[in-house]
Every structure is written in C-alpha cells, then in structure tokens.
Amino acid sequence: MEGNKNHIPAGQELVRMTGITKQFPGVKALEEVRFNLYSGEVLSLLGENGAGKSTLMKILSGVYQRDDGEIILFGEKIREWDANKAKDAGIAIIHQELNMCTHLSVAENIFLGREIVKKGRLDNGRMNEETKQILDKLNIDIDPAVQVGDLAVSKQQMVEIAKALSQNARVLIMDEPTSALTSKEIDELFKIIHQLKADGIGIVYISHRLEELQHIADRVIIMRDGKFIKEMPYDINRMDEIIANMVGHEIKEKFPRVNRKTGKKILEVKNLNAGRLVREINLELYEGEIVGIAGLMGAGRTETTRAIFGIDEKESGQIFIDGKEVKINSPIDAIRAGLVLAPEDRKKDGLCTGLSISDNIALPNLDMLSGGILGTVNRKKEKEIVDQSVSSLRIKLPNAQVAAGSLSGGNQQKVVVAKWLVRNSRVVIFDEPTRGIDVAAKVEIYNLMNQLKQSGIGVMFVSSEMPEVMGMSDRIIVMCDGRITGEFMIEDATQDKILTKATQFEKNK
C-alpha cells in the first residue's frame, strides 16, 4: 500500500548510537556501546548470551531507557524515547517468540489497533485486500482471511514481518528468527530478507547460527560483556576471528571427540509406534556411545524420544534395558528404569523457571533426598548435590537460590542437564541440547556428553545442526516422516548421505 514511501536509497546511515550505557540493579548491562546501521544492509549483531545484544536493541526500540549515550535516528538526535515513539519512527522488532493473536485472521493481526472503519463498521474487505497487497509484494503466499494460529511458525513470522512493513518500518530487528524454522523455510526467509534489503530497509540480524550469516550478512558488530568489541565487514574466511572476538579466547576444538570402546547393549527399542510420527521404530544403544538422531524438522525425532520416555502414549512396542523388558508408561517409570531426558523446549518442559536453581536440580532427585513419614527433605544433602552439580558443570550463578528463569540460555540448559546427573542413569537422551545457546556453552555441553560417554552411559541426542551430529556422534540414525530411514557408523557418514536419507519420504502417501 504505502510501499513506495518506504524506499530509501541504500547506504544512508539510519541509526547511530554512541556511548550507550545502561545499568541495571547489580549489573552493568551496557558500557559505552556504539552501534550504527545503514539502509539496505543486513547487520549481524554478534555476541554470546548475556553480551548485551538484546538490551541494546531494546534501548533502540524504546523498551528500555538508556542511562547515558546518544541515539541519532535518520540524522536527528533523539531525546524522549519510548516504545510507541520508536514504532512510529519506523523501528520494528521481530521477536524470537512471536507476538500474534493466534485466534484472529492474518488481516486482523496486521491491522490490529488501526483497523479500517467505514461508517462505524469494520471494513474487512478493504483490510483483506490491503493485506493481500502487502503479502504479494513480499511474494508470500498466505490467505489474509486464514487464522494465524493455523499457520506454520515460519508463515506466522512472515505475517509479522509484513505487519512491520505495513507500519512503514525502516529498521527491522530480527532476534533469532530461524530458531524454529526448517532449512527450506529459512531459505524462504532469506529471500524475503534480500528483498527488504533491496527496498532499502536496514536489518539487524541476531542469531546464534553463525553458518547462516554467509547467506545474508553484509557487516558484523561483535559485543562481549556489555561492551562493543569489533566492527567488520562480513567475510566467511574470517569466521575464526569473529568467533574468537565473541568468546574472548580461541576455541580450539569445536567438537571435542573422545574415543571409548563401546560396551554391551543397554537400551533396545523394538517396533515402537506412537502416533503418526513414530512408526515402527527399532533402535539400540550401547554403553559408552553417542548416537545422534538426524532428520528434518517434523521427522518425528522429538516424538520418538517422548514416546520412549513415556510422556506420550505408546500404541505398541517394547523397550528393553540391559536385556530386560521394562514397561514405561510415564516419566516416573522411565526414570526408575534409568532413563533421563533433557527436553527440547527448556522453558516449557525443562525447567520450573519461577523456582530456584536449587529446587530445579533437587526436583527429580527428591526420592533420594527425603525420608521420614512426611518425606522431609534433607537440606544438607540437597545443598551437597546442588553444589556438586553446579561446580562440576561450571554453571555461572550468583547463588543457587535465584530463579532458574533468570539465567542465560546456556546456563539454563546446564541446569536442565545438571538435575539428572546426580542419579546413576544408564541412558541420557538430549533433545536439541544446544539450541539457542552460545558457542562456549555449546562446547561445555559437548564436553559433558563426552564425560557421560566415558563413564559408560549411553547417550542419544537429537539435533538439527548437521555439523554437531557429524562432530559428536559415534553412530547416526536418520529419521524421516516418523520412520528410521538410515543408520551410519560415523566413519561412513557424510552430509550428503544423511540428507538423502532424511528426505526419503514414502511415495504412496
């Protein structure tokens, strides 16, 4: 609709921030940070969890007030600043968690709060039409009348981008936009990003998936510990330098592989069926090995782990631990049988974010920590195991009584893992253990997997990141559409082979 007004020639400075400082009670979140953004570029804002990227972007978008520093937007110095002013000025954020009214239609969402009214009634026809125009311009094929909740996450995200553009956004901030997308969807998103670039929109791109940058990034700004570290044009040949600047030290081994002779069979799953995405699953896991489960989004990997762990109901199938059949109808049974699952969605399934770290770590182990008629928790023992897990996993925290939700993503993940390691488990299943956490924390999770492996535990992990699967597994199982389509020893595995198996859909469907 107002598309042409949007167009800005490339290379103009849209945003310049200098000396930005922000103090929160107890922490200096930002210290003298500088930042700038040009029209028609994709700027990758890099840094580990807690580096201050989100805080900086929240200051730009008016969610937080800066303590000190200067913001120049489109050549004008800004004084009073809040979220509404930022929105009016054309700054839009696409959050990791989408902000959509899922029960409303696409058009209703896009026009939310500024509905077109004719004679006191909503003019749905016109709103649908204008929505269609905006979507067409972005080459997005979505019906404006469909409910947002019925769309895939990737489409919802595109609707959100369209909404921002319909409000004349000139600066678009994307915070981990690809974390929930499949590789095909990511390609579509990148196409849209290229188009936005061509329209002269400045894009700030925040992502932990560094391999994505080669497709879109023009320039990078690196932050660390709330400080500006480096600005440079993006160059794939300088990735090591970029990572070293993010982490503050060189990471020598990205995937620290250890060798151990695999022992006897621990876990065997026979003919497991549970819903559409778990069909006739047969798999085995041996002592001291790491098995990676690869596949596309929606291949049924998470569902398989959930079925094994007794979260979802099984239709049929048997599970054997150390050769003996066990009935697993609930997580309680699974834990008793020596299984452990670190789930994919930390906030939803992994942690009670409102409770303290100590409570979270103790929760699955209360049977070992309590006694007496009432089941009194032995606090001394509790403190011992909490301290032990915190130090062995090097979880950074002020004290174990703070809420688990206040930790950074990487540390939260460590807590999810920590709470299980106290038990003498036989099998540890990780579902996307490194999603959304920074490079250094990833390596720590890898080290932990190796530690488990060396102590003779069978480790199984689901991952969508191919380098990780290739780097950490001893054996790789590939799933597609609810079935196991391939299995490779690491020596025989190549990315091509895995991808072929991962896309081996049944023809007669």
Partner: protein, 338 residues
C-alpha cells in the same frame, strides 16, 4: 517464623529470600498498622477478651485459607470450599442429633468431605476439566448434599451428648484461648511444614510453576493435584465441624462464600493465583488481616455493607501491590536474561 529459628545462616537467608516473602513482610506491616489504628479508635480492642475473640474469629478463615492456598500453589482453584463447610456442618450435626457418637460422626463427616476433595482432584487432573468449572459443579452438589441430609431443614441442637465435641472443636480453652484457634494453628503448622520442608511440598510448587517440566522430572502431577484438593476438603471439613460446634446446630447455609474468603486470605498473604509461588506464612497474615478488619470495623460501628466494601478494596489493593512489585522485578530479570 517456623524455621527461621535455626541458626544456620543459609536457612535464614533461604527463609527471607523465599518467593513471596516480600509481600508477606509488607502485609505484616499492614497488619500491625491496622491493629494500632483500631487500638486508637477503640480502647477495648487490645483487651484480652477481644483478642481471644479475635483469634477465634480468625480460625475458620485461616483453615480454609490453608486449603485454598494449597490448591492455588498448584495453579488451580477450589470453589467448593464453602459448600464443603456447609456439608460438614450438616452431616455431623444430623448424625449427632440422631444419637450417633460424636467422634464416629466426625469420622463419617471427614470421609464424606474427603470424597468431595478427591472427586475435585480427579476431575481437574485426570479428566482435565478447568478447575473453575469442575469445582463450580462440586460446589453446587456439596451444597445440595448439605440441604438434603436433614430433609432441607436446619437441625435441632446437637444436644448434651455432644458436649465433649463442642469443647474440643470450639469452646474449650487452652492457655485462655479457644480450642478452635489451636486446631487451626496446629493444622497450619503441619501443612506449613509439608509445604516448606517435604518432597510433597516441592512437588506442589513444581506442579504450579511448570506442570510439563514437573511431569518430565518424574513428579506424579495427577497425584499432586488430587492431594491438594483433598487437603482443601480436609480443611473445609474441620471448619464445618468448628462451625457446628460453635452454634450447636447444623445450618444448611454454613460456609456460604467461604471459598472467596479463602482466596482473599491467600492472595492478601502473597499466594499467587497463577501457581508456583507464595508461602503459607502469608496465608496466616492474610487471614489475620481479614479477621482484624472484620472485628475492628465491627467495633468501630461500621455497618456490614461498609465492611464489605472496605475489605473488598483491601483485597484488590493487596494484589495490585504485589503485581506492581512483581512487574518491576521481572523487568530487571529480563535484562539479565538478555
């Protein structure tokens, strides 16, 4: 109060830093201020006679508050409390009027009430009904039972044979204080211990904080939910027995609106209706504020209508303060989370 007395600094720190402790401290200050104000308005407020009366008045609110808090900790609500109070009152009174031994009557009453709690728990956990709807249903049913047991009449006096019963649940005095208050305090102490120190308590908090994570951590969340509803019904039952003992008759509409008083006592004391946070110490303070307001306003000559309005305002303000404090905190937390 209960566990801060240990000298271990970790324990003290833990006690003070408990979630919801901030609210408890705030409302405790509010309670003290209220008492001082009423003390000025009415010189009889601080007489030992009034204080024993006050404590007796607080007892039922505290009891049902404990039950409702348990349910709220798991993120659910129990609307059947008031009706269970009525049911308990009517069943016990009817049995005693028919010459049943009072203690046998108590046991039968207890069994009936716990069944209501159990049904609530099953409906909410296994049948996955919204707690509001499920307990709305049992609320109506339980009230119906209260009406039907004596053929839709209040009972006569429970008679001389129930003297011991009346003394035990209500009028007996220990250290000059009515036994109703002691019963409430003992029950509170037990459940406070369970909440703060035992596996069950942890499971309750975890279920309220994040039911999915709790389930995956091996918590039997269905059992936990049934448990809190049974506790709530137990507390309501004892409240009904106290009511019966105090009047000496069974009244069909005993306990009307008690479920809401219970919510009020809980939330004034900082128990979140969203689950996972708050402490039972807050419920004591909440119930005390409730009792002091009733008692003080009555003394000050305020008509019932005015009392209701004032108490309603205080409930809203107390929760509002909590919300303001909480949003302030969550902002700073978000930043660290980055």
């Amino acid at each position: 109060m209960n566990n801060s007395s240990e000298k271990n600094p970790g324990t003290l720190q833990r006690f003070v830093s408990q979630k919801g402790m901030g609210q408890v401290i705030t409302v405790t200050v509010g309670l003290v201020v209220l008492c001082i104000v009423f003390g000025f308005i009415n010189t009889n407020f601080f007489t030992s006679r009034n204080i024993t009366n006050l404590l007796r008045q607080i007892a039922p609110t505290l009891l049902i508050g404990v039950g409702q808090s348990y349910v709220l900790f798991t993120g659910n609500i129990d609307l059947s409390i008031g009706s269970v109070v009525g049911m308990s009152c009517m069943i016990s009174a009817t049995l005693m009027c028919h010459g049943v031994n009072p203690w046998v009557a108590v046991l039968i009453t207890l069994a009936c009430c716990l069944v209501v709690g159990y049904v609530n728990g099953i409906l909410v956990s296994r049948c996955k009904l919204p707690p509001f709807i499920a307990t709305l249903g049992t609320m109506t049913i339980a009230r119906g039972i209260a009406q039907i047991v004596n053929g839709n009449y209040n009972t006569d006096s429970i008679g001389e044979g129930a003297k011991g019963f009346r003394s035990f649940f209500y009028s007996g005095k220990v250290l000059g204080i009515f036994s109703a208050f002691w019963i409430a305090i003992v029950i509170w102490l037990v459940f406070n211990y369970i909440m703060g120190r035992t596996k069950t308590g942890r499971h309750i908090y975890a279920t309220g904080s994040n039911i999915d994570a709790a389930r995956l951590s091996g918590v039997n969340v269905n059992h936990t939910i049934v448990y809190v509803y049974v506790v709530s019904a137990f507390c309501a039952c004892v409240t009904g027995l106290i009511t019966c003992a105090s009047t000496g008759t069974g009244t069909m509409d005993a306990g009307t609106s008690y479920e809401m008083y219970a919510v009020a006592a809980s939330v004034i004391g900082g128990v979140s209706t969203l689950g996972g946070s708050g402490i039972l110490l807050g419920t004591v303070i909440g119930a005390s504020i409730w009792g002091v307001l009733q008692n003080g306003l009555q003394f000050a000559g305020a008509p019932v209508a005015i009392r209701n309005i004032i108490i309603g305002i205080i409930v809203v303000v107390a929760v509002l303060m909590d919300v303001i404090v909480r949003t302030g905190k969550s902002k700073t937390r978000r930043n660290k989370n980055n």
